[in-house]
């Protein structure tokens, strides 16, 4: 029995798509919220510096701390994305395994 490549590719996409869509559905509001908080904190630091309540050195330290915190958020999103990609890949491979097993006639798993 020949493998229908187009059909297999479509099956893979259908298996992978919900996993990836779900990831962005959850990640987007989180990124938006943390981006807003980051900007608000930077604005607060600028205000404190302008009002003379903190020195330039202190302002720079605060800015670096906020930047590191925001970078951690982006790393978390990257990690969650990789987990989603891994899940999508394995879901797509799972779909192919069933179809290929049938086509070849022996169980590979």
């Amino acid at each position: 029995m020949a493998l229908n490549v187009s059909a297999l590719a479509k099956d893979m996409l259908n298996a992978a798509k919900p996993v990836l869509q779900n990831f962005w559905k959850e990640a987007k509001p989180y990124v938006e919220k943390e981006s807003k908080a980051f900007v608000q904190n930077l604005a607060m630091i600028a205000k404190l510096k302008i009002e003379g309540k903190i020195t330039k050195e202190e302002a720079l330290l605060h800015i670096q701390i906020q930047k590191n915190s925001y970078r951690t958020v982006l790393l978390a999103v990257e990690g969650l994305g990789l987990i989603a990609v891994e899940g999508a890949l394995n879901a797509a491979i799972g779909v192919i395994s069933t179809t290929v097993n049938k086509a070849i006639g022996w169980n590979l798993l």
């Binding site: 701390i65 958020v73 990690g79 969650l80 590979l108």
Partner: protein, 154 residues
Amino acid sequence: MTAHPTVKKIAGFLLVSIFLFTACKVTLLSAYDEVTDKTLSEMQQSTTTFFVKHETNPGSQDLSYTNSLTFYEGLRVKSRTVRIRNNAIEKNKIMINMLDLLDENITLMDSLHKQKPNGLLSKSDVTLLKSAFETQYTAMFKFIMALKARAKAQ
């Protein structure tokens, strides 16, 4: 009629590839590590306690830099210890980068506190620092919990 040797080789390669491809699960990241989870929880608790003390009793000499040395030292020791552990785990670049950023922020907070003329963090300092550290720990726990859920699903 027998197939050409080259055709046989290609067919064999394709079959082996399909076998390998379909028999293997893809793993892009490290596994969940309970010790890292536990250590970060302890660090987060210690940091939260530090900020709560500042919010409850602002301006108290108990919160001066000199009286906070034990706190910074303890946090730094845990940070370095968990970093060393994570060095040994494969496919762990994201967690290692996160731990480096956390360690850097502990050092920066220490420097900020140290250079205060009266040795005390102001209310604004605490607000900003608390926000940064809460964000940082939350981000790390989000990632760790996702790894934990993935381990359970496998």
